[in-house]
């Protein structure tokens, strides 16, 4: 993992301001850059005013679902009868997404500060940061930052000397994609198999250890100190298109662009500009063919669709996909779409937790059919079968893993049917098979 790129003038640098600045990792370095001011302010405030500010800012969950963060916090019981918990979802396992990793690598204290403020706002004394098992480097950095924060009394039984207990714990995952699903994450934290739970009850009613719990993504929590420092109006003003999508968003761009990496843009930014101006366009002599804008779970866009899309929650839906976790996977005209769809399906087949029948069997069956098509043994009716299976795998299970497997299959066949048919008719052999 190297150093990040220099930020582009079209970026709106908030979270990523200190990416690449090694000094910002240390406690003192972070305080010098204005860190922990927001926490100090927050500890002087009651729960509700903080929630109101976050509500007013329009901040929405950055993990994929885009649920309004202030609203989520307001679901926590007003009276603390059982312990309240905060879970920070740092499992970042969505293929194509690597923004949380960079936040933890470069600005670990931003996350700790965000977690501490959130704990205070939801009436929790304890927060857990569930870090993806493969994130060895970010984990070590977070561990060091946490030790520093405790050493300085910023966290602990008397956080910042304000009489409030705020304890944060790091927990490492063991390598399961599904543990990024909020209820599976809680099961995993409890020491159980990481299986998603049936909702309701929702986490705010019965979450971690059966107690009221709020779970937020790393990027969401890291944005909170900025909102408290600079005000809800400022954050709300960061908006280029739909007023329901405010603030900045880190996009992890990978694949066939000249300059892949994390780009922070104001929501509503045109995808085309991000691809051509920020990322430098396709590799020499190539053309874009397809873009998955929100991590592997969202429908694939053709290059034409992508170039017309605006990067916010509503803009992506209008383009027929979703903003998701903003893991933007770019594919140029050298890409074999059938292989790519198979590769995605194989990922979900491998990661299905095996609870729900449709997902356990459907993801694997879908992969088998796609592999057979790639091997030149497919039949035309296989495409209809794939679509029918995808239909039965959508909206019928406890979590959305099987929907996520179905989405790229459906959009892949719908938008690149010719490539599938070419394999079936025998006119094409897989280069990668």
């Amino acid at each position: 993992m190297g150093y990040p790129h220099q930020s582009h003038p079209k970026e709106t640098v908030v979270l990523s301001q200190y990416f690449g600045d090694a000094e910002a990792r240390s406690y003192d370095g972070w305080v010098k850059r204005g860190g922990y001011r927001a926490l100090e302010t927050a500890l002087g405030m009651g729960r509700e005013p903080i929630v109101d500010i976050v509500k007013a800012s329009g901040l929405r969950g950055r993990g994929g679902a885009g649920f309004p963060t202030g609203l989520k916090w307001s679901f926590m019981p007003k009276e603390v009868q059982k312990p309240h918990y905060l879970c920070c979802n740092a499992d970042e396992s969505e293929p194509g997404t690597f923004k949380d990793r960079e936040i933890m690598r470069w600005t670990p204290h931003a996350l700790l500060e965000g977690c501490a403020i959130a704990c205070h706002a939801i009436g929790a004394e304890i927060g857990y940061i569930y870090i993806r098992g493969e994130f060895t480097d970010p984990y070590a950095i977070m561990e060091k930052a946490l030790a520093e924060a405790y050493a300085r009394g910023t966290l602990g039984a008397n956080a910042m000397g304000k009489g409030r207990r705020l304890d944060l714990h790091l927990h490492r995952g063991a390598g399961a994609y599904i543990c990024g699903e909020e209820t599976a994450l809680m099961n995993s934290l409890e020491g159980k198999r990481g299986n998603p739970r049936i909702k309701p009850p929702f986490p705010a009613a019965a979450g971690l250890f059966g107690c009221p719990t709020t779970i937020n993504n790393v990027e969401t929590l890291a944005a909170v100190p900025h909102i408290l420092n600079r005000g809800a109006e400022w954050y709300k003003g960061l908006c280029l298109s739909n007023p329901k999508s405010t603030g900045t968003k880190l996009f992890s761009v990978c694949g066939h662009v000249r300059k892949p990496g994390n780009y922070e843009i104001t929501l509503g930014f045109p995808l085309k500009e991000m691809l051509y101006d920020l990322c430098g366009g396709p590799p020499p002599g190539r053309k874009f063919k397809a873009v998955i804008p929100g991590g592997s779970s969202v429908p694939i866009l053709t290059a034409a669709e992508a170039e017309g899309a605006l990067l916010d929650y509503e803009g992506c839906v209008a383009a027929g996909t979703m903003l998701g976790s903003a893991g933007c996977i770019v594919m140029d005209d050298s890409t074999d779409m059938v292989y790519q769809v198979m590769r995605l399906a194989a990922f979900y087949a491998h990661e299905s937790c095996a609870q729900c029948t449709q997902c356990r069997e459907g993801t694997a069956w879908t992969t088998k059919i796609l592999k057979r098509i790639l091997a030149g043994e497919g039949e035309m009716k296989d495409l209809d079968l794939l679509l029918d299976l995808a239909d039965q795998m959508t909206g019928k299970t406890i979590c959305v893993l099987s929907d996520s497997c179905a989405a790229p299959v459906v959009s892949g066949i719908k938008k690149f049917r010719g490539e599938f048919e070419a394999y079936i008719k025998g006119g094409r052999r897989a280069a990668t098979a």
Binding site: I198, A349, E351, C353, Q355, T357, R360, E361, W365, L389
Partner: protein
């Protein structure tokens, strides 16, 4: 009433307690929503997705086991959308299923067979792919796991974890590689572990004892009560060709819910014993000679006549495995002749089922200890044996264990039993063959005072009669009036 909810399921209006699941409410409305992972005695998992139904105004299909009823809810079980979803679940379940019904013990009582037959597709779209293969695993004393048939409903996992409180089973691996695993170096040897075989909706968990013994449709099923201990679990005796081949729990929410212990499940061999007393026998010198019931009862009448009335005390030694009906009649005979009766019972360790209150394999391993006590028999065994030595007549009632029939010395003895122990062969004046509990109708009183009926499952050997009938006949020939009884 405010704590009930009215809703409509398949066009039928039904009123159920608030908090009931749609699936349970449908049962009350007379609609069975197909399901696999749901079981009323286990925590809801909601994983098989078989019980998907359409609920008006809901954005998507709902798992009826995990959806509580709401006022005015309109539920469609058979709508095209719900049916398609369930059909698809069945298809998904079958793609890796071996379809080895011809050699599967579950065939005929398999929920996968039933629902596929009811609403599944007629053909497969899976094509020529290899199916998942898992080797058969030996889980414990009586349980085999045939992973290939498993549909991962996790009923067994939840039973061991939440009901038996011995979490040795788990779901191992992920995706379509998943299977039911057992914790390394552990065995499925809990005293109630055999229930996973009944809970398994398919043939994945099977009983070694019943392995390949019979086809389900060849079995005759008779409602009965477990004779294993004083708990009185309700059971079903499954017989074929007059042999008990299997014992399964019969649900009773007040006694055993859906379960029986392995001791009750596997301890049925004695019901099929072949070395049975089949004819009445009378003593001629040092020999016992066969007789018919008429002659035998005449001899009993002579013995009783010589020893009748309160001044000639009789003594009874009874088995606590006899029916209430037999014990009551025996007690009446003893009372009319100023006598006493006693019983003894084998005691072993109590084995409770943690997740169900007041359910255990009880210490006292006989079904009718409390029926015997209620009839007036005492636990005062040694003192009663001493009295028996000087009694004018001793009735030994199927008490064949050491010391009953040979401990009574030279007192005249009538032995009523299923088998003939050595002591009775030497001492009994009259031997009368009786039926065992699988060959008669009767009742047992359990440790909570609950009297429960059991029914005849097999025909009795030879001329054996129920002990209650024999004692009634003895009452007649001994002139004990019905009033005294």
């Amino acid at each position: 009433m405010s704590d009930t909810v009215k809703l409509t399921i398949e066009g039928r209006e039904v009123e159920v307690p608030a908090g009931t699941s749609v699936l349970e409410a449908a049962k009350l409305a007379g609609v069975l929503i197909p399901h696999y992972c749901y079981h009323p005695a286990l925590p809801v998992a909601g994983v098989c997705r078989m019980c998907l139904v359409e609920i008006e105004k809901a954005p998507k299909l709902a798992a009826s086991c995990a959806t509580p009823v709401a006022p005015g809810m309109v539920v469609h079980v058979g709508s095209a959308q719900a049916l398609a979803a369930r059909q698809s679940v069945l298809e998904f379940l079958l793609i890796n299923h071996p379809l080895d019904c011809p050699i599967c013990d579950q065939a005929g009582e398999c929920e996968l067979q039933d629902y596929v037959f009811q609403e599944g597709r007629s053909g497969t779209r899976y094509g020529s792919y290899a199916k998942r293969f898992n080797p058969v695993e030996d889980f414990g004393p009586d349980v085999l796991y045939v992973g290939n048939r498993c549909i991962l409903c996790t009923r067994c996992v939840r039973f061991m974890e939440d009901v038996a409180d011995q979490a040795v089973l788990n779901v191992s691996e992920r995706g379509d590689r998943a299977y039911i695993g057992i914790v390394e170096a552990e065995k499925l040897d809990h005293a109630w572990a055999g229930n996973v075989v009944d809970l398994c909706p398919v043939g994945a968990l099977i009983s070694k004892d019943f392995l390949h013994k019979a086809r389900a449709w060849d079995l005759d099923k008779t409602a009965s009560v477990c004779p294993g201990c004083t708990q009185g679990c309700n059971i079903m005796l499954d017989t074929r060709d007059n042999q008990v081949l299997r014992v399964r729990p019969r649900p009773n929410p007040d006694v055993n819910r859906y379960f029986i212990c392995d001791t009750g499940r596997l301890g049925y061999a004695w019901l099929n014993r072949a070395d049975r007393l089949e004819v009445p026998m009378l003593r001629e010198g040092d020999r016992l000679v066969p007789a018919d019931w008429e002659k035998a009862l005449k001899r009993v009448g002579e013995l009783a006549g010589a020893a009748s009335g309160p001044r000639h005390p009789w003594v009874g030694l009874a088995s606590p495995g006899l029916s209430c009906e037999a014990l009551d009649r025996a007690a009446a005979l003893l009372k009319a002749n100023g006598g006493v009766g006693a019983f003894r019972v084998k005691e072993e360790t109590e084995e409770p089922l943690a997740g169900v209150s007041d359910l255990a394999l009880r210490k006292e391993r006989a079904p009718n200890v409390h029926g015997a006590l209620e009839a007036g028999f005492t636990r005062d065994w040694e003192a009663t044996i001493a009295q028996a030595r000087v009694a004018s007549l001793v009735l030994v009632l199927d008490e064949w264990r050491d010391g009953a029939s040979d401990g009574v010395g030279s007192a005249p003895m009538i032995y009523i039993g299923t088998t003939l122990p050595e002591g009775a062969r030497r001492h009994a004046a009259v031997v009368l063959p009786c039926t065992n509990m699988s060959e008669e109708d009767g009742s047992f009183r359990n440790l909570r005072g609950r009297v429960q009926r059991y029914f005849q499952a097999r025909t009795a050997p030879g001329m054996a009669r129920p002990a209650a009938w024999i004692l009634e006949a003895i009452g007649d020939v001994a002139g004990v009036s019905a009033g005294a009884r």
